[in-house]
């Protein structure tokens, strides 16, 4: 049962992150995922200090606000100072993350979170973080419910905005001319990434969130030239990674989040090498038909 809950949690996070990650890498903003997953830290701490609880809703609001702030500041420095986007991201997210660390250490006594928890998380504790109703019924692990809701929201968001997300990613200028606001969809996507990040990393940690945001979509991108198929492969790959990562950790007696991230990398490497081998077999006759 423990294995089931952990793998389920891993899969939920992997699918949610992966679906959003597909659009991130197609928009060439992979690093935005990285940035947001770190930059939401001060938002979480401030939300915690204000609300005095570790409830999910204030956390999500705090994270959503800082996620949008990160995007806004990045865009602002990029436009106004003429700074390259990646440089702007680098400045903004390290600054916000550091502010978060200072807030945690300054209010150490009052804050029930630490940076280790945020960065590495502990997916192994998911099965004991139970949701107990008022009359004492045990409903199963709390994170599974939260992550399921987030997954449904993200899937709904992508279904509703599929064609807008696709068009603003492919050809923003054309989208604007049609009257579709590129800025609006940009912010909606970042908001979705912020919410996903904060609801995920409590259980799996920021590093694994980043791995799930970019790894499976990048692998799927190598495998297909069809956006819908890319989303489907990403989701399937996410479930596989959660499975393989868990059992790898079980056999090695190692960190589960770490093993899942490693499996993500191995998947990419495997697909990449397979394609290199295949293309090196096929290409010579095409490149030089006379040689054969």
């Amino acid at each position: 049962m423990i294995a089931f809950w952990i793998i389920l949690t891993g899969s939920l996070v992997a699918i949610t992150c992966g679906l959003l990650g597909c659009f991130l890498i197609l928009r060439k903003m992979s690093m935005v995922g990285d940035a947001i997953s770190h930059a939401v830290l001060p938002g979480i701490v401030i939300a915690f200090l204000l609300s005095g609880s570790r409830d999910t809703l204030p956390m999500i609001l705090g994270a959503g606000a800082t996620g949008l702030l990160t995007t806004f500041l990045t865009e602002y420095f990029h436009r106004r100072a003429g700074l390259q986007t990646d440089a702007a991201i680098g400045v903004v997210f390290t600054f916000l993350f550091a502010v978060g660390i200072i807030l945690i250490s300054a209010f150490a006594g009052q804050v029930d979170i630490d940076q280790d928890c945020v960065l590495y998380g502990e997916i192994a504790y998911v099965p004991i973080d139970l949701w107990v109703t008022a009359n004492g019924t045990i409903m199963g692990p709390r994170p599974v419910y939260i992550l399921s809701v987030v997954l449904i929201l993200v899937v709904a968001f992508i279904c509703v905005g599929y064609k807008e997300l696709k068009l603003t990613s492919f050809d923003p200028a054309f989208a604007s001319v049609l009257g579709i606001s590129t800025a609006l969809w940009h912010y909606l996507l970042t908001a979705a990434v912020s919410i996903t990040t904060v609801s995920s990393f409590e259980s799996v940690g920021a590093i694994l969130v980043i791995a799930f945001l970019i790894g499976p979509p990048a692998t799927a991108y190598l495998l297909t030239h069809n956006l819908k198929r890319m989303l489907a492969i990403t989701a399937a790959l996410g479930v596989f990674i959660a499975f393989a990562g868990y059992w790898m950790a079980y056999w090695l007696n190692a960190s589960i989040a770490g093993c899942m991230a490693v499996v993500t990398g191995l998947c990419f490497l495997g697909v990449f090498s397979m394609q290199r081998i295949r293309s090196s077999r096929i290409q010579p006759p095409i490149a030089d038909p006379a040689a054969g």
Partner: protein, 262 residues
């Protein structure tokens, strides 16, 4: 020399565009009649694409205004179509040729709704017009430059607009595609559509366009081709650029003795 028209379909009024503090376009003031194929011509860095992007609302002008069908762009979006420069998008994006052409229908379909069978039929029809109906399912990464341009054109056609803006549709395409495109543009113009094309090649400009806007950061000339596209105005727009002067000479020569191509 600027020739204005009565009841213009496009009116650009005393436009000025700046990047930061540096003006890149100023004193641009012209009108276009409906049903013409108009060329925006000028040397590199003359602000041709900037002008087009400003008309399409992608760049906000510092001063002046633009009217399409005597209204602002927001009121007539569904009647206006745009073909961006081919290099402006990532052709490795995981979509098929048909997907791209269907994007032309997104404005008509509206939010929350998907493209239906009717949109599909229109898209197929447009692909047929540009001679790309055999490539419907093809991934866009596998297209040649000319084919990419045809797909972009088909997407614009799918918008079923009345006024078309095209940014360098003839840049880097093969001769066959260039002929297909110009034939299509003429057909569209005779059906009452208005087409505005950014173009960099002086040689073909005279043959392709019946209205010319000659630009070099400021407006040099605008009006019917045979009235305003003269040696004098071309010199004015390209003046001082030695390598281009020879090209201007070439154009003049071609006018006197049209060369035959084999």
């Amino acid at each position: 020399m600027i020739v204005h028209t009565q009841e213009p379909i496009l009116e650009v009024h005393d436009l000025m565009v700046t990047y930061g503090r540096k003006p890149v376009l100023w004193g641009v003031d012209f009108t276009l009649p409906s049903g013409c194929i108009a060329g925006i011509v000028g040397p590199n860095g003359a602000g041709k694409s900037t002008l087009l992007k400003t008309i399409m609302g992608l760049i906000t002008p510092s001063s002046g205004y633009i009217k399409l069908f005597d209204r602002s762009l927001d009121e007539v979006r569904s009647q206006v179509s745009y073909v961006p420069q081919r290099e402006s998008v990532d052709w490795d994006f995981p979509v098929s040729v048909l997907d791209v052409v269907l994007m032309g229908r997104y404005g008509k379909v509206g939010l929350l709704r998907n493209t239906g069978p009717r949109d599909r039929d229109i898209a197929m029809d447009c692909l047929d017009k540009v001679g790309m109906s055999a490539y419907t399912k093809r991934q866009i990464s596998q297209l040649s430059g000319g084919q990419q341009q045809r797909v972009f054109l088909a997407r614009a056609l799918a918008q079923e607009a009345d006024l078309y803006f095209m940014d360098e549709p003839f840049a880097g395409v093969d001769a066959a595609t260039e002929q297909t495109i110009i034939a299509l543009l003429r057909e569209m113009a005779s059906a009452g559509k208005t087409i505005v094309v950014v173009h960099h090649d002086l040689q073909s400009a005279r043959a392709y366009f019946d209205w010319i806007v000659l630009l070099n950061m400021h407006l040099v000339a605008a009006g019917p081709t045979n009235e305003v596209f003269t040696e004098e105005t071309i010199q004015q727009a390209y003046g001082g650029r030695l390598n281009l002067l020879s090209q201007v000479g070439d154009v003049m020569e071609k006018r006197a003795f049209p060369s035959r191509e084999r």
